[in-house]
């Protein structure tokens, strides 16, 4: 293998000062080769995006040098050819699209290279086909889903015929189906001989690579196989978390000591589970609350709801079709489905900022098709934390941002004490954070501020649209623990998610949507055990449920409808006592 990109003692400081005591990159020497698939890992602020931007000369090293196919990136006359050879796909799909139709955007790179029109046409067609956007070639980009936009961004890079594609957190904003598609595309690129460098904090995706490079505080702290990486104790010091499969494997190893240490995928884990000494007939499980749906009080009811965006224009598209939903008092309810299945549209109806075009929506005492019901009444009752809420911050200071709601809607106590209460709820220190600028916060802190800004209204219902999307593993865990505490305190929550592990942890009931129509509904634990149906929706059942199902077929007395690692371990410990050590 020949070196495609060479980093030679690269130090980089955003101030440009070579003596900066805290440079973003510290003395990095690395090589990336033709045709390899490597991931670059690291917590937020570890320097991984800074590193990625050195690979095509977007940033130039303060000290040291970067060679791309032996061309020094500091020589600006090479930039055209370097950027042709090193393609880059960024995190935010919509910000990297320049033109107003798909086809024209794909042509942008080749046009910049000064290729003849016939050659551009050929490359554009090939690239659009490679990412499967043929049907959309004349559409405007703002009418694409985020997954489609990310594919478009990749097509724009492929049309330049690069030797390596760098994905800079390019899957963070995608749902599982979008991620799977992106990963499949990466595999295809590799098969065609292209190298793939993937900057990510998703550890499941990291497991698929041949090589993992870990950055911590601007230095390379690990360079080797992902399998080896996940056995390292220092993973946590670097701000990383093992993927759920590896974590569950680690827990199971306490009961099954012979389980291999380097399990990476769900298949490997399922394949190495042992049988018990004394197999038994797996028991049926009685779920709390039972399946009897009588006697329940519905606090939110939606019936026959239709919603069409851009109604009356040639760009109209229907987001909800005859959708229905029933949320029971005192329970947490999840809306699941891939991007574009109508979850956000439905949540915005429950919040009163969208009103039914057709059908009925009742939230608590309010009928939302009644024009005399004001939006302010509804938002006070049902607070909505929107998707990627931090992109909609409009105040400069954390305290003001959180105080906005109660200031608008009125508050029966001093504003400061309400803000303090809301911040305590999400685990933010009032004095330390109230005067911070919102745009200097980390991703996880921003999400907490967004959550606090809704809690400060003291709504009865909390509506959450993809509460953990785009967060790194550690922040995600913190948000989930906060939400779980609220659920256990009896807060009535409706959340949308395409992360089934999150739903398993938080929700009692579940309604699944496909293309704006109801697809599945029932108790979350029951729905999750319909593995095929869940996969058909483009979602992944929780790992714990898959493991539990496999254990049952092996003869362990694990009940069905187990969906979290905690539940699984509880049951399994009892089983091991009764059924003996694994064979």
């Amino acid at each position: 293998m020949t070196a495609l990109i060479k980093l030679d003692k690269v130090t980089f400081s955003y101030t440009g000062d070579p003596k900066d005591p805290h440079p973003a990159l510290k003395d990095i020497t690395l090589q990336f080769h033709e045709g390899e698939f490597a991931v670059i890992l690291g917590a937020n602020g570890s320097g991984k995006t800074t590193l990625a931007r050195h690979l095509n000369g977007l940033l130039l090293p303060t000290l040291g040098r970067v060679l791309v196919t032996n061309l020094d990136t500091r020589d600006r006359s090479y930039h055209g050819i370097i950027r042709q050879r090193v393609g880059m796909v960024f995190q935010h799909p919509e910000d990297q699209i320049v033109a107003t139709t798909v086809e024209e955007d794909v042509a942008f790179g080749p046009e910049n290279l000064g290729l003849p029109p016939s050659e551009i046409r050929q490359r554009v067609d090939a690239a659009i086909e490679a990412v499967g956007l043929e049907a959309h070639r004349h559409r405007p980009p703002h009418m694409l889903s985020s997954g489609q936009m990310q594919r478009l961004a990749l097509a724009g890079v492929l049309a330049m015929r690069p030797r390596v594609v760098v994905f800079d957190e390019a899957t963070t904003m995608l749902d599982p189906a979008g991620r799977r598609m992106a990963l499949a595309l990466m595999a295809e690129l590799r098969a065609s001989g292209m190298a793939v460098l993937f900057v990510t904090h998703n550890m499941e995706e990291a497991a698929l690579a041949d090589r993992a490079v870990v950055l911590s505080e601007g230095s390379v702290v690990f360079d080797g196989a992902p399998r080896e990486l996940f056995t390292r104790q220092s993973l946590e010091d670097w701000g990383l978390e093992p993927p759920p499969v590896v974590e569950l494997g680690g827990r199971l190893r306490r009961l099954f000591p012979h389980l291999p240490e380097d399990l990476l995928t769900v298949e490997e884990l399922l394949g190495s589970l042992p049988s018990p000494q004394r197999p038994c007939e797996p028991p049926e499980h009685r779920v709390d609350g039972g399946t009897d749906q009588q006697g329940r009080e519905w606090v939110i009811e939606v019936q026959g709801l239709n919603h069409t965006y851009m109604l009356g224009t040639p760009l109209a598209h229907q987001a909800l079709q005859n959708a229905s939903l029933q949320v029971a008092a005192g329970r947490a309810h999840a809306l699941v489905g891939v991007t574009g299945s109508g979850k956000s549209t439905l949540l915005q109806h429950l919040n009163g900022i969208l009103r039914p075009q057709e059908g009925k929506v009742r939230v608590g005492p309010f009928q939302l098709d009644d024009p005399t019901v004001s939006t302010r009444q509804v938002v006070r009752l049902a607070g909505l934390v929107m998707q990627n809420p931090e992109s909609q911050f409009f105040e400069q200071f954390v305290g003001d941002e959180i105080a906005y709601g109660p200031r608008q809607l009125g508050c029966d106590e001093p504003l400061a004490s309400r803000v303090r209460w809301a911040m305590e709820q999400v685990g933010l220190d009032f004095l330390a954070f109230k005067d911070r600028f919102t745009d200097t916060l980390s991703g996880g802190e921003k999400r907490k501020v967004a959550l606090a800004s809704i809690l400060a209204i003291k709504p009865r219902f909390l509506l959450l649209d993809e509460p953990t999307a785009g967060l790194d593993p550690r922040s995600r865990k913190e948000i989930l623990l906060t939400l779980r505490r609220m659920v256990s305190e009896g807060m009535e929550i409706v959340l949308s998610s395409h992360q089934m592990e999150d739903v398993a942890m938080l929700a009692h009931d579940l309604t699944a949507f496909r293309k704006g129509r109801n697809a599945l509904q029932g108790l979350a634990a029951e729905v999750f055990w319909q593995f095929e149906a869940v996969r058909e929706l483009g979602l992944e059942p929780p790992v714990a449920a898959l493991v539990a199902a496999r254990l049952r077929t092996l003869g362990w007395g694990v009940p069905s409808r187990v969906v979290t690692a905690e539940m699984l371990m509880d049951h399994l410990e009892r089983c091991v006592e009764v059924q003996g050590e694994p064979v």
Partner: protein, 273 residues
């Protein structure tokens, strides 16, 4: 209830790829033709000419497969201002003293030519808005940049930064729908935290007060986006070759000539009648 669908009420900057006959013509021909009609509508002094202009634009919308209802929506926001201007025009118009007087309001005498002046103003702007709308629905940004590029070539030879200018136009047009969507998100998130978007304030000051809290964060997020987009453009080798080429190759055909001919004839008709 669609008070948040800003995108819906901003028809400008929205190319509609419906693939009509008009869409397939040479973009340069279309740009020249629309320019001629727009100029003619701007400078015409006769009612009949303006009506001919509007009729031609309406035919153009039909040929371009643009639904009338969609096109007319672009007229709604400026309509109150247009009426105000038209009324002012009626009052301020200076007519010759020997005209017959239709009505007297205070010190002002209304004559038929005053009314005609008001009507002309209304028709002129209706025609202009529809014509500019038609141009944006049927000319995609790539076609426009391509067309502009070729038309600017003589200027570029004289050292004028024509390519960068054209790119600026293109990125601006890409940003318009993005801005509308961002504004929509910010307005929604403010409304869902209690900002009052239910009432449609009648007076302008209240309306402005409703909009200002959206504008500031919108501006900040646009700066952020512009930064991201600049990076993405750099990463795709923008500016690294002196001669940009284009996906679309342009050759004038007979029908394009026909379009030009029609536009010049109607332009003349609008001005002469």
């Amino acid at each position: 209830m669609s008070q948040f669908e800003f995108l819906r009420s901003i028809p400008f900057g929205q190319y509609l790829p419906v693939g009509s006959f008009l869409h397939r013509l040479d973009p340069r021909a279309r740009m020249v033709a629309f320019t001629v009609i727009v100029l003619a509508l701007t400078f015409s002094r006769s009612l009949v000419g303006l009506l001919i202009g509007c009729a031609v634009v309406l035919v153009g919308l039909r040929v371009g497969k643009i639904p009338y209802r969609f096109a007319f929506r672009g007229l709604l926001p400026p309509l109150p201002f247009l009426f105000l201007l038209a009324i002012l025009q009626v009052f301020l118009n200076v007519s010759s003293p020997d005209e017959s007087i239709l009505a007297v309001i205070g010190p002002v005498r209304i004559t038929p030519s005053d009314l005609a002046a008001g009507a002309k103003l209304l028709i002129r702007f209706t025609g202009l808005i529809l014509a500019i709308g038609l141009a944006t629905y049927t000319i995609s940004t790539a076609e426009m940049t391509q067309g502009l590029n070729i038309m600017f070539q003589p200027l570029a030879k004289m050292g004028f930064p024509a390519q960068d200018l054209v790119m600026m136009v293109q990125v601006t047009l890409r940003f318009l729908p993005m801005l509308a969507q961002t504004a929509e998100r910010i307005a929604k998130s403010q409304a869902s935290r209690g900002a009052d978007w239910d009432s449609r304030p009648g007076n302008i000051i209240a309306r402005v007060r409703q909009v200002i809290p959206v504008v500031v964060p919108l501006f900040l997020s646009s700066l952020h986006r512009a930064e991201n987009m600049a990076l993405a453009m750099d990463a795709r080798a923008y500016g690294s070759s002196t001669q940009r080429t284009s996906l679309v190759e342009l050759r004038l055909k007979a029908v394009d000539g026909l379009l030009l001919g029609i536009s010049f004839l109607t332009g003349a008709a609008i001005l002469v009648f």
